[in-house]
């Protein structure tokens, strides 16, 4: 379990992480979601003692990272897969991890198999690795000590779709066996596929957090009918406010049962009725981080 309590980091007068508090629980994949520069990486560096917090604490199973006697056996960390000496081979990087953690030498081959790096690839210098291969190597290094907690910064970056699926299965499996996973991403789609819990961060502040299902529910309902105007009228009659999306569907905060009943009462034939899943969360993501993003819409 990772417990983050009022973690704050300031550089001079500039606060990049502002009083964040959350918990990544055992058996769950917690997604740390935010646009670039939101403070995700700084927060993760504070969790593992690479950056000293200005205020607040981060503990792993109740202890500060720096107080863990052999951290690699308890926490697997991958902050930047490219942060390796380009002149070492992949196998050598895993061997260094294996030796310092004091795990059997056979773990190196096991982990290479696990992340599907071939023997020939493992003997190449990481300077020649693609980003996807570095991510796989980074995952292998994080897992080699058989830890119960994983902290991964943008692990899906540079992976192809098959790789992202592989990563999802691997982390799902890891969490299902009781592990704690905290992973960050600036891509909502990735987080939505992998995470059970979501912590959304923008400009160093947590803008919302909760289980994915509760956040999805909060995202509302998408409904579509042959005649949108009639549908909107029927919803309004039932006291349900809605907005017309660009694609001609209606969006509302009411849940599907309420919307379905209202349409039935109004005699409207629906062509679609569903939870606003990805689209809804994305809208929330964009909305919640609207005043914190770099790109402002031209309108």
């Amino acid at each position: 379990m990772i417990t983050i309590d009022s973690l704050t980091k300031s550089y001079g007068g500039n606060t990049v992480v502002h009083d964040i508090t959350f918990t990544a629980r055992e058996g769950r994949v917690t997604g740390f979601l935010g646009p670039n520069g939101a403070g995700k990486s700084t927060s993760m560096r504070m969790m593992v003692g690479l950056t000293t917090p200005t205020e607040g604490t981060a503990t792993i199973s109740g202890r500060r990272f720096a107080d863990l006697p052999n951290p690699g056996r308890e926490v697997g960390v991958m902050l930047d897969a490219s942060a390796q000496h380009a002149g070492r081979t992949g196998r050598e990087i895993l061997t260094i991890a294996q030796q310092i953690m004091g795990v059997p030498a056979s773990r190196v081959t096991e982990l290479l198999d696990l992340v599907s790096l071939t023997g020939a690839e493992a003997d190449r210098r990481v300077g020649n690795y693609s980003l996807g291969m570095r991510q796989r190597l980074g995952i292998a290094a994080a897992l080699i000590g058989d830890p119960s907690v994983l902290i991964l910064d943008e692990p899906a970056n540079g992976l192809d779709p098959a790789g992202i699926r592989w990563m999802r299965d691997l982390l799902r499996d890891y969490a299902d066996h009781g592990g704690t996973v905290l992973l960050s991403s600036h891509l909502l789609a990735e987080i939505e596929i992998i995470a059970d819990d979501i912590v959304m961060i923008g400009q160093g502040r947590i803008v919302c957090q909760g289980s994915k299902s509760s956040l999805l529910q909060a995202a509302g309902t998408v409904v579509r009918a042959a005649d949108v105007v009639v549908l909107q009228g029927a919803l309004a009659a039932a006291g349900v406010a809605s907005t017309v999306s660009e694609d001609g569907s209606l969006r509302t905060e009411a849940d599907t049962a309420v919307v379905g009943q209202a349409a039935y009462d109004g005699g409207v034939v629906l062509t679609e009725l569903r939870n606003a899943d990805s689209g809804g969360l994305e809208e929330m993501f964009l909305e919640l981080t609207a005043d914190t993003q770099r790109e402002r819409t031209a309108a």
């Binding site: 560096r45 593992v48 951290p71 390796q84 890891y174 066996h177």
Partner: protein, 269 residues
Amino acid sequence: MTATSAIKADQTHIGRRTEFAQIPLSRVVRVELRKMFDTRSGFWLIASIGITGLIATIATIAFAPDADLTYYNFAKAVGFPITVILPMVALLSITSEWSQRSGLTTFTYVPSRGRVVGAKTLSAVIVAVASMLFAFAIGAVGNVVGSAIAGTPTVWDLSVGHAVTIVLGNLISLSIGTMLGMLLLSSAGGLVMYFVLVLLVPNLTSLLAASQDWFRHLQPWVDLPFAQTFLFEGMHTGAEWAHVATAFTLWIVLPGSFGLRRVMRSEVK
């Protein structure tokens, strides 16, 4: 997918509470020693000590006047490349964690940066002592072969005490690399400063000493490369030890402690 079954096999016990033993310093030293050799650049840097040592021996036999074919001169010729190269080994082992960003993993395996830097320094000392033994051995071979070729008597003019001060002198050179590495945390900047300190500064101080009388008396106290020559040429007086100790404090201990603070506090990213 095979990946899934593999992770299941070894992670059925995630979440168990095991109290792990502290990583022993000897293990950190062993790994840091390994890291000095496991890249092409690191390997050749250390290999160059042996290669230049051999070249120096051959050059001494070929070019030195017969009267100079003594053990001390051979050991000095073989030892010179060590004096120049070892500090770079010590420096790069520290700065590469920042310049190559591998510190991001190193310091998550061993969060105590003091232990990591300590282990790096110990590893460098091990390499230094091994290289010096190599230099003394090659020097002995050169001395025997050289005097046989020249037909002069083989002269063994290096006492054990003098050999020890030569090793000490090289360890001081090495500590220049350690100090600069901690202070600058940058491979490029560290190497530039290193050459400024060992090539440029001695020239400037000797110029100053030649023209300024007050500095000539002060020099052995404040000029570390100058004080080191006492160690290389054999210590004779207690005053020389005092010079070495004072210059070492000024050049290594004071800036080194600032450097250590930087290592402990700087953000690794």
